[in-house]
């Protein structure tokens, strides 16, 4: 009786602990920089408190039962004498750890295994009749209970989110985090205010971006390949930084030039665009023939090219 009560309470507490992280199926929220743990802090605190209370209650009950047992032993001593008393006390021998292990495994010691030896003999293989280990049985019950709770929560209660619900929450959160971040950023770059960068670090970053993303089609030195030559003065979609910014960001339909807006942030498009403009007139070997129209820089763009970007 006492054993069972203890067992199920521990099992319940354990289940709560297991259940919380399992219900939280939004791993990417953490990766997105918003800590899932803190947002669930309240729920976690409540659960931990419940678990501690449960544990305290279990200890109290177990202490109470212990003193009842002691009283019983004393009663036996009074009524039946010392020998019966010793017999009764002996049952409780062993360290607390040993008793704990015994309670959770119910294993018959090797020395006494003849008591549980079955009459089976298969090619010399014998079998013992040890009980199912209670910890194993408890684990089995917990997992079955988990299954019932899980299926109910997600499929019968109407409260568990579907995979697609989770996705939508994720997207909304991601969008919100992004908006919040961008709201704090000054100087949002777009085609109305983009200027050529001249800072060495920016251009170096621009070259890195170019090597990772553009080189395959436009060549290591901008000489062109699948895509057009970047070093001559001829441009299909315009040769100033504003046109370049739009071409990189939105891509060119019907060609291999994809819209890079999903891969490169505006500042990076500005950097790589600025780097590409530094290639003008370098005349690398194997240059592709000019495509598009000769681009004449307008006088007005020149002063604006002075970098004011931080």
């Amino acid at each position: 009786m006492k054993n069972n009560c203890f067992k199920y309470m521990i099992a319940f507490a354990a289940m709560l602990f297991i259940a919380v992280p399992m219900w939280a199926q939004e791993t990417t929220a953490v990766a997105a920089g918003d800590s899932g743990f803190f947002s669930r802090l309240f729920a976690n605190t409540a659960l931990i408190a419940t678990a501690i209370l449960t544990l305290a209650a279990v200890i109290a009950v177990s202490q109470l039962l212990n003193s009842v047992t002691k009283a019983q032993q004393i009663k036996i001593y009074r009524e039946h004498g010392l020998e019966s008393y010793l017999e009764e006390v002996k049952k409780e021998e062993g360290s607390a750890w040993q008793r704990f292990i015994q309670r959770w495994t119910k294993a018959v010691p090797v020395a006494k295994e003849q008591d549980v030896m079955l009459d089976h003999n298969y090619d010399g293989i014998r079998e013992l009749d040890n009980s199912l280990p209670p910890w194993w049985t408890a684990m089995f019950y917990i997992t079955i209970a988990f299954a019932a709770v899980y299926m109910t929560y997600y499929h019968f209660s109407g409260s568990g989110p579907s995979s697609i619900d989770e996705y939508e929450v994720q997207m909304a959160k991601g969008e919100e985090a992004k908006e919040k971040f961008l709201a704090r950023q000054a100087n949002k770059v777009d085609e109305t205010n983009v200027v050529v960068m001249t800072d060495e670090n920016d251009l170096a970053l621009g070259k890195t971006i170019y090597d990772q993303n553009c080189l395959a089609c436009h060549g290591a030195a901008g000489e062109g390949g699948i895509g057009p030559n970047m070093t001559d003065a001829y441009w299909i979609h315009g040769g100033d930084i504003k046109n370049l910014f739009v071409t990189i960001r939105d891509g060119v339909q019907g060609t291999n030039m994809i819209a890079w807006s999903t891969l490169l942030r505006p500042a990076d498009i500005q950097r790589v665009g600025s780097y590409i403009l530094t290639l003008q007139g370098t005349d690398p070997p194997n240059a592709k023939a000019p495509e598009g129209a000769l681009y004449q820089p307008e006088a007005a763009t020149e002063p604006a090219a002075e970098d004011t970007e931080n």
Binding site: A31, I125, W136, I164, L182, R249
Partner: protein, 713 residues
């Protein structure tokens, strides 16, 4: 007491299976090592199709599962079954047909898989004629096993035999129902189920191939060889009963955990999750009974290499069967799936559990059958340590690589961009892990060579006992008596046990598969999804032949990190004409489901010719043969006919004009390629054109039109 009868056990057949297991183990692991090295040096495919990763991946998995472990199962069964029943195997002829038939199947696999003949269903890649051969040989094995059981001298069946029976009946059901396919030619067939349904059936099979080919028969072997080697009684008979029945009933339900967050309906995914969780205890029942049987014999583990191997095997089993359910929790799976974590997980099972158990059993068997001592305990111990270290060197880098890559895939910058937008960055990051993994594999394999040497030396020092004399009294008619354990009844009734196992394992499969096949609402229709054109269909079959699915998934999960990277998440209605489904289970390269229209035709042409030219540092092999090979259109009409028969809505009589259509589309693609500077007279007849047609079609049916070039920043 009945009169004592004399008979002989056949050790010859056991020895044959041992030799086959070790030999094919070495070959399978060598192929694995080659693949591991191709992750570092893709050019190690030697520039030919037959040794390219996509084609040898199924060769590796089939070799280790069906050749190494398969022969390992039969070795153990043919040794233990007669001894547990006190009778020889029923028919020596059937034993030999079984042996040679199985080796012929392995040979057929070793020839057809590198040739690109594959159904592309994982762990069932072999085409339909070989499927039929497998079924026949398996039935031969079943008849031989069952007749032996029926002719037994022992009244009751020992737990090992329960596992053998459940293995046999379940593998029969899985293999037969999974292999229902319609042949187009001798070496090409299409499965009857398409898309999501095909995926569910495949993973019902694939998951339970792990369960009933790699697990239950090996648990049976463990129940025989562990108590034998330790000379200790089995810890708990009750535990055997409960964990056996629970295991076979629950295992069969867990297949959908391979499809979490895919287009499979949520209810089926959830069943996969909860049954996987419930599987922990039944799986651990086997581990407990194995390890606790060693109580009182742990001191001998230090000296006896056999016990060492068995202990590590069972421990690896315990770890893998705990890890599996954890990976089935959706939040964990969201990280682990498609990464090397899965690869690490399966290798703990394969190298640790199956590998080490096989080695332990062989070390125990060979000296006994050769009536001598093991040639060198020192070498066996050396094998043990190098093997154990090999497992660690394999598994740890794979776990690390899996976590690294998963986190890189999911990492966003504060302004809402993927931090590693270029997929290749997440691959090149892993090269040292891949190198360490190859080293781990090499260590494990060296251990096997050490074992082979040790075994040959042992055999030479002894004399083989091909036919072992034994005696036992005839079986008595048994009447149940009062106070007898209830389970004893079924242990006397092999046929009832077979039927009970059959019923139990059918339930899970039926509850999951029938609703998927019969209830339309599980796969919402999408109007814009149309059948593949003949050229796309041929391209798809090339994709299947080259095993692209080994590295590229076609399943975008509903995660922000995936829709940002690849585009709209995949819908079940998009796959209704996909025979077979090609969702994949590992992303060594990026997902391709929304590949259609992303690049120009010429990009694909150049990329297949030299992936490194388009993506420097890519570890994809080049496919120059696609550019030279002429597309075979001899069977296009038959393919259309077969697909039409199964419900793909091609117009009536379309097969007659299919090749014309194919040529028209090929000409258009060839023209576009020429415009982009590809110089080749015969372009329109080449395989590459078909593959490009297929790749450009991928996911395009519901792909939103590219946005206009005006900004909305």
């Amino acid at each position: 007491m009945a009169q004592v009868e004399r008979f002989q056990y056949d050790n010859e057949i056991v020895r044959k299976f041992i030799i086959a297991s070790v030999l094919f183990g070495i070959i399978g692991m060598l192929v694995g090592l080659l693949m591991a090295l191709q992750f570092i040096w893709p050019e190690l495919n030697f520039g030919i199709p037959y040794t390219t990763f996509g084609r040898i991946r199924p060769l590796h998995t089939n070799a280790v599962i069906f050749a190494f472990v398969g022969n390992g199962i039969f070795m153990g069964v043919y040794y233990s079954l007669p001894r547990l029943l006190k009778t020889p195997m029923w028919s020596k002829a059937l034993s030999n047909i079984h042996f040679w038939g199985w080796q012929a199947i392995i040979l057929a696999a070793a020839v057809t898989l590198p040739l690109g003949i594959t159904s592309s269903h994982e762990y069932a890649e072999l085409e339909w004629p070989i499927d039929i051969a497998i079924a026949l040989v398996w039935i031969v094995f079943g008849i031989n096993m069952f007749m032996t059981i029926i002719k037994r001298r022992e009244t009751h069946l020992y737990v090992a035999i329960w596992f053998y029976i459940a293995t046999w009946v379940t593998v029969t059901v899985l293999h037969v129902f999974h292999s229902i396919e319609v042949p187009v030619t001798l070496w090409k067939s299409y499965p009857v189920a398409a898309g999501v349904q095909d995926a569910l059936i495949q993973w019902w099979y694939g998951h339970n191939a792990v369960a009933f080919f790699l697990t239950t028969p090996y648990l049976g072997l463990m129940y025989y060889f562990m108590p034998k080697a330790a000379n200790r009684p089995v810890y708990s008979y009750k535990l055997s009963i409960i964990h056996f029945w629970a295991l076979i009933f629950i295992y069969i339900w867990a297949g959908p955990h391979h499809l979490l967050y895919t287009s499979l309906p949520d209810w089926a995914q959830s069943l996969g999750t909860v049954f996987s969780i419930m599987l922990i205890a039944p799986s651990w029942g086997g581990m407990l009974n194995g390890l606790l049987t060693l109580r009182g014999a742990w001191d001998r583990v230090r000296q006896d290499p056999v016990l060492k191997f068995l202990v590590v095997a069972i421990t690896a089993y315990g770890m893998a069967t705990f890890e599996g359910p954890m990976l089935s929790i959706k939040s964990v799976n969201a990280i682990s799936h498609y990464t090397d974590w899965t690869i690490g997980h399966v290798h703990v099972g394969a190298l640790g559990w199956n590998g080490f158990l096989t080695f332990g059993i062989i070390y125990w068997l060979i000296p006994r059958m050769y009536r001598t001592q093991l040639y060198s305990t020192k070498l066996a111990n050396a094998h043990f340590w190098i093997g154990t270290l090999g497992i660690l060197f394999y598994a740890v880098p794979m776990y690390w690589a899996g976590w690294t890559q998963a986190l890189m895939w999911k990492q966003f910058t504060p302004d809402g961009f993927l931090k590693y937008a270029n997929f290749l960055e997440t691959v090149t990051q892993l090269r040292w892990f891949y190198a360490a993994r190859a080293l781990g594999g090499l260590m494990f394999l060296s251990g096997v060579f050490v074992m082979a040497y040790n075994l040959i030396k042992t055999a030479k020092s002894g004399s083989f006992l091909g036919s072992e004399e034994a005696e036992a009294p005839a079986r008595e008619v048994h009447a149940s008596h009062k106070g007898e354990y209830w389970h004893k009844w079924i242990e006397r009734k092999p046929v009832q046990m077979l039927v009970a196992s059959l019923i139990l394992i059918l339930i899970g499969g039926m509850v999951q598969i029938f609703p998927m096949l019969l209830i339309d609402s599980n796969i919402p229709k999408i109007e814009s999804v149309t059948p593949y054109t003949p050229l796309e269909l041929e391209g798809r079959d090339i994709y299947i032949r080259e095993g692209c699915v080994g590295c590229h998934s076609q399943m975008i999960r509903p995660f922000r990190s995936e829709t940002e990277r690849y585009g709209e998440y995949s819908k079940s209605g998009e796959f209704i004409y996909d025979r077979p489904f090609l969702w994949g289970s590992k992303r060594t390269g990026p997902d391709l489901h929304r590949q259609g229209g992303k690049y120009q035709d010429s990009w694909h042409y150049n990329h297949m010719l030299s992936p490194q030219a388009m993506s420097p540092a890519s570890i994809m092999p080049a496919y120059p043969w696609l550019i030279d090979n002429v597309l075979n259109t001899a069977h296009t009409a038959d393919k259309i006919k077969v697909l039409k028969m199964m419900g793909t809505p091609y117009p009536d009589g379309y097969e007659a004009i299919a090749v014309d259509d194919l040529q028209k589309q090929a000409a258009q693609i060839a023209q576009r390629l020429r415009k982009d500077g590809v110089v080749d007279d015969g372009l329109e007849t080449r395989e590459i054109v078909a593959l490009i047609a297929y790749l450009q079609r991928l996911g395009a049916d519901i792909k939103p039109k590219p946005q206009a070039t005006t900004s909305d920043n």
